[in-house]
């Protein structure tokens, strides 16, 4: 359990910091490669969403300098970044990963999107080989836990999504949404979701602008909307009352001068900008204009915090599930720790058995097939009987803290030197027993 995790999220760091750490999707594979090349890191992956940037690793000795990695990678001064960082190790890191995947650490607790984002990050890292044995197991388990939380608690069902908060805010501004126009800038999933909510509440029509025009057309068709070329954005944007923007642009695309133009063309009718992009698409000075209302991802969070309290009970239930899952995962990892010992023990005894049979066979001369089978069964039976208790003890000890001691003692008693290879493929089974069998088979081949 040499997991190490470092990161910032919407609670620990303001948007300004998260903006600077955000990693565009296409750069993720490179980051994963750089991460695994960093001293002391065996496996690593990076989750970068609008609310969090997290580096999750499995390290050589459990004490890799992840802060150092962040400082050098993002070129930020330690003084500036460190106060916003959180760091978790071993069990705490496991718990955190489970909580993130189960959407308990989300801005909107229970929203389903984060699981998809984590899965994508995992797939990216796996594709470049940055995630192998340990992290693979951690995340396979995390996805199972997320599913369990979703099915066993109501955390996800009554989720107050960013989208519904956006609808609520739009209603505070426009009263009714009947006949209002929506403009989506940047065809992302989140903005699509928000648009869907707004349309469900009576918005009249939808415009979509995207840098890739084809994607704009695709999304516009879903809503019977109109695709707009990105160059025509500023010329047409004033037709919308509500603008949902989520582009990957590194700079603000809506600035004060645009807001002034829009207002002049709209005869000062108010406009509502929902900015779910990180870095922000709407410059903060837009909000200073009368009649322009901008809500960025942090503002939306403020608006949803009041709703979060409603779900605290369900969240408690979910936390309990996570706590028990963390224990289970830890126990399983320990079981895996003793598996090599069990395997070498079995191999050792098997060698002895074979040697003894060969020796006896020389003295006894030719044996009938029946006799061969009988001897085989006899010797195997003795070994299995003798081995039963030590193996059970090893497995039990694996779940306790003295696992290492017991393993050491067994290794010394039987003079087990070589370590067989540890299973590197993901192990889908849940109990230590099945895992042991799998590994056993794997090493014998």
């Amino acid at each position: 359990m040499r997991f190490q995790l470092i990161g910032v999220n919407h609670k620990s760091a303001p948007l300004e910091i998260r903006e600077r750490l955000a990693i565009p999707e296409k750069r993720l594979p490179d980051v994963c490669r750089d991460l695994t090349a960093f001293p002391g890191i065996e496996e690593g992956m990076v989750i970068s969403t609008c609310n969090r940037v997290e580096v999750i690793t499995h390290t050589v000795n459990g004490a890799a300098d992840l802060r150092g990695f962040l400082h050098t990678y993002f070129q930020v001064e330690p003084d500036e970044l460190d106060p916003h960082l959180y760091e978790f190790r071993s069990k705490d890191a496991v718990r955190h990963v489970f909580r993130v995947a189960s959407s308990l650490d989300s801005m909107v607790v229970g929203e389903a999107q984060i699981l998809g984002q984590v899965k994508e990050a995992y797939a990216t890292a796996r594709a470049v080989g940055a995630v192998r044995g340990q992290l693979d197991q951690l995340f396979s388990r995390a996805f199972a836990v997320a599913k369990r939380v979703r099915t066993e608690t109501a955390v996800g069902s009554s989720s107050v999504s960013i989208a519904s908060v956006a609808v609520e805010l739009a209603k505070k501004i426009f009263g009714t949404l009947q006949g209002k126009n929506v403009f989506i800038v940047g065809a992302g999933k989140m903005s699509e979701l928000a648009a869907r909510h707004l349309m469900a509440h009576g918005c009249a029509s939808i415009f979509v602008a995207n840098r890739t025009y084809e994607r704009a057309i695709g999304l516009a068709q879903k809503f019977n909307g109109q695709a707009i070329k990105f160059e025509d954005l500023y010329a047409t944007c004033d037709r919308a009352d509500i603008v949902i923007t989520s582009t990957g642009s590194p700079h603000a695309i809506f600035r004060r001068e645009h807001g002034e133009q829009f207002l002049a063309r709209r005869k000062n009718r108010p406009m509502f900008f929902i900015d779910i992009a990180v870095p922000r698409d709407v410059s903060p000075d837009m909000a200073k204009l009368d009649g322009i209302f901008t809500y960025d991802i942090d503002d939306l969070q403020q608006a949803v915090t009041s709703h979060v309290a409603d779900r605290s009970k369900e969240a408690e239930h979910a936390e309990a599930i996570i706590a028990s899952e963390v224990e289970r995962f830890e126990a399983r990892l320990h079981t895996l720790d003793v598996v090599p010992t069990i395997v070498s023990l079995q191999d050792h005894l098997e060698t002895i058995r074979q040697a003894e049979i060969d020796r006896v066979r020389g003295r006894m001369g030719q044996l009938t097939p029946e006799q061969e089978i009988a001897i085989e069964a006899l010797t195997r039976g003795i070994i299995n009987k003798v081995m039963h208790t030590p193996i059970t003890t090893l497995k039990t000890a694996a779940r306790e803290s003295e696992a290492t001691t017991v393993v050491d003692v067994v290794r010394r008693l039987f003079n087990l030197q070589t370590k067989p290879q540890v299973a590197t493929e993901p192990v889908a089974s849940e109990t230590g027993e099945k895992v042991a069998v799998k590994v056993e088979v794997g090493t014998r081949r």
Binding site: K172, F174, G175, T176, K267, N268, D299, Q302
Partner: protein, 269 residues
């Protein structure tokens, strides 16, 4: 008797006044219903009081306290119309205190009376009074709405979670209330000035444009018109609209104050 009914009405409006102060800090559906019923009851008393005044001597409407009473009643009527249309009692936050104040002053008792004994055509005079006061009431409403707009705009911009449970209606609804009151008030104000001119012409045979009352009334009308025009033409909202509304209300108050030093339209000494 009219004064007694008016005092009953005042007691009812007091509930509305308390509501106005409570609504500033928290939202209570029950209380807003109570305030609404109390205000409706107050309007019944108020109406009885006004009718009695009219029946006894309709020119008595030209007295200051009856004028205030009429303005208060018309403002309440507007408030009720808005409630019927938009299902919101929030303009009460501004309307109730104004109405209470006007009714309170009117209910105290004797006040200066406008010199109307020379007016030959009482019908025009009554029309003039009702029209002008309707215009004033609409202006009060519009002014109130523009203040509420500012409050709501600030709440939305502050982005505090508490703004979610604000007692105020949506920004656009407030805007509509203000704009529609303004549009509605303007023809009344215009017709009120025209009927006033008719009264002046029939009484004095001429209109003295240098008389402070007429000058200030015209000024107020021009300001009002500018306000309607900018609102219609450039859709001014928020701060700019609030400044304009304040300016118009000040102009209206100035026109009212002119009663104290006008030769043609003044209080009896």
């Amino acid at each position: 008797m009219p004064l007694l009914w008016l005092r009953f009405a005042l007691a009812c409006y007091f509930v509305g006044l308390v509501y106005a102060f409570v609504a500033l800090s928290r939202t209570s559906d029950l209380f807003s219903r109570i305030a609404l019923h109390a205000a409706s009851l107050g309007m019944v008393f108020h109406f009885v009081s006004l009718v009695e005044v009219f029946l006894s001597n309709h020119v008595a409407w030209a007295s200051v306290h009856n004028g205030e009473s009429l303005l208060a009643f018309l403002s309440m009527t507007f408030f009720m119309v808005i409630y019927a249309l938009y299902q919101t009692t929030s303009p009460g936050v501004v309307v109730f205190p104004v109405v209470f104040f006007l009714t309170f002053v009117a209910a105290i008792g004797e006040q200066p009376v406008l010199l109307t004994q020379y007016v030959s055509d009482k019908g025009w005079l009554v029309a003039h009074i009702i029209l002008i006061f309707t215009g004033y009431a609409a202006l009060v409403l519009s002014f109130g709405a523009s203040l509420l707009y500012l409050v709501q705009e600030r709440r939305l911009k502050s982005k505090k979670p508490t703004s979610m449970i604000s007692f105020l209606p949506a920004l656009d609804v407030i805007d509509q209330i203000g704009y529609r009151s303004l549009l509605l008030g303007f023809p009344f104000m215009t017709l009120g000035l025209i009927t006033g001119s008719v009264v002046a012409l029939t009484t004095y045979g001429r209109i003295d444009f240098l008389d402070p009352k007429i000058l200030l009334s015209l000024l107020m009308w021009v300001v009002y018109m500018v306000m309607v025009f900018t609102r219609w033409n450039s859709g001014w909202r928020g701060r700019r609209a609030a400044f304009l509304a304040t300016f118009t209300v000040v102009a209206a108050l100035a026109a009212w104050a002119a009663n104290y030093f006008s030769a043609m339209h003044r209080f009896a000494s």
